[in-house]
């Protein structure tokens, strides 16, 4: 009987081409990506044709979520610390330990009512970022901590910039903190108005709104 010889085929697939493609894709993503910034709440910003870039430093961000909670973000470490000290001077009934103050300085975003701060800051640091979205800076007319924060932050910011040796060479627009409002597009105008009114009261009449670039 003639034996039928089944030819054994190699099951190895050459992965080199595949590897080439993946490396290419990986390079593309690595070069073009900007990382999603950690923010207390996710917001979808409205579209606009405006093409100004977001300033990268010396900014005070105001984040407004659709239900009206307001959070603040300060990019400068020293400003955050200084603003907190000022804030504690006003709210003298609240005392924070050194350790709690250090924890506060570590995260860019804050937005906890001052009286709940000791409790919030003694949480594990890893949990704080996730818990923050349940709080929000009070900005009612009775208890406008938002106003106090913005006031202290902008003052501490310009104080710090004054101490900068290159201060005189800076343009006027760079001599102060830039205020950026980032609000979800579904936010009712009431909340945005409250924030804008407070900024106007502090004579911060110039600010930017974050938008998404659109073709229009």
């Amino acid at each position: 009987m003639a034996k039928v010889k089944v030819k054994r085929k190699s099951t190895l697939i050459d992965m080199t081409a595949m590897s080439d493609v993946t490396v290419l894709l990986l390079t593309f993503f690595m070069l073009t990506s900007t990382f999603v910034q950690q923010e207390p709440v996710q917001t979808i910003t409205p579209a606009s044709v405006s093409e100004f870039e977001i300033p990268s430093q010396d900014v005070l961000k105001v984040l407004i979520e659709p239900n009206g909670k307001v959070f603040l973000g300060l990019d400068n470490f020293n400003d955050r610390a200084a603003a907190l000290d000022e804030m504690l001077k006003v709210h003298s009934d609240v005392t924070l330990t050194e350790e709690q103050k250090n924890t506060f300085r570590l995260s860019e975003w804050f937005g906890v009512p001052v009286n709940q701060m000791p409790e919030f800051l003694s949480m594990r640091f890893e949990d704080q970022a996730g818990e923050l979205k349940n709080y929000g800076v009070p900005c009612d007319s009775i208890d406008n901590q938002f106003k106090e924060w913005v006031d202290f932050a902008t003052r501490c910011g310009s104080q710090r910039m004054k101490e900068d040796p290159a201060y005189d060479e800076l343009e006027n627009s760079q001599k102060r903190l830039k205020i950026i409002i980032k609000a979800d597009k579904k936010t009712p105008y009431d909340v945005v108005k409250k924030v804008m009114d407070t900024l106007q009261e502090l004579r911060q009449n110039r600010f930017s709104l974050i938008t998404t670039l659109s073709e229009g």
Partner: protein, 250 residues
């Protein structure tokens, strides 16, 4: 490909010849790892480009009568953003008796009665000047590129052109007779005499501000809505019934 071909010399082996190995590198783990990294980058990046829109609010400090700049009624356009993002406008001074003095308009530029069309029409002169400045800038840009200068020189020339254009644009926006747009957005109202509803959303405010940029409106301000404006909206929505039953504006 990732294989080093080994010549086969017919099964005969010379004495002392080293045994040649078939060198084959398996790339599968490499691909696995790359895919993992790609997935990571894809999930952690944002593709939408965030930009900012500058907004200058009017000062809240009390101003005296003399300091106030007078606005001609013929130049003023007031845009009201009402409940559920309905948009209205009136020109000049409002007429509280006639509900037709308020016109309902739309944010969709393709509509016949859109804000875009209104502003393009009213702001024709300024838009023409801005277009001219932009054209001049583009021509200049092409000329500079055609000159094939060194990189630094090209950049300096382009920056110069940019300043010229920006100056021309800001000059154009100061044209006499250009409209001044007042934007008023409604907040939530309950049990109000004239009109009740959830108010405007932030996105419609940004849309209206966007129209200002598109139509090169130089003077515009976001102002608080007044009772009179609410009355106008209520009167328009009830087709004049409110004016008949209320004594506002009489």
């Amino acid at each position: 490909m990732a294989q080093v071909e080994v010549k086969d010399n017919g099964g005969k082996k010379k004495k002392g010849q080293q045994k040649k190995m078939n060198i084959h590198v398996d790339f599968t783990p490499m691909v696995d790892m790359n895919m993992l990294l790609i997935t990571f980058f894809m999930l952690c990046t944002t593709m939408t480009e965030s930009r900012t829109m500058d907004l200058v609010m009017p000062s809240k400090d009390a101003v005296t009568e003399e300091q106030q700049s007078k606005l001609k009624a013929s130049e003023a356009i007031t845009i009201l953003i009402g409940d559920n993002d309905k948009v209205f406008y009136y020109l000049g001074e409002p007429d509280y008796k006639d509900f037709n003095s308020l016109v309902e308009t739309s944010l969709n530029p393709e509509d016949e009665n859109s804000i875009r069309n209104l502003l393009l029409d009213r702001n024709e002169e300024v838009i023409g000047l801005v277009d001219e400045a932009n054209k001049a800038y583009e021509e200049g840009q092409a000329n500079v590129k055609a000159m094939h200068l060194s990189k630094a020189d090209t950049e300096a020339k382009l920056a110069e052109l940019m300043t010229v254009r920006d100056d021309a644009v800001s000059e154009a926006k100061k044209t006499k007779g250009a409209p001044m747009v007042v934007i008023k957005a409604k907040t939530t109202t309950e049990n109000h005499d004239y009109v009740n509803g959830p108010g405007a959303t932030y996105s419609s405010l940004v849309d209206v501000l966007d129209e200002m940029i598109v139509c090169s409106v130089g003077k515009y301000a976001v102002v608080d809505i007044t009772d009179g404006d609410l009355f106008l909206i209520g009167n328009y929505l009830s087709k004049g019934e409110l004016a008949a039953s209320s004594d506002f504006g009489k």
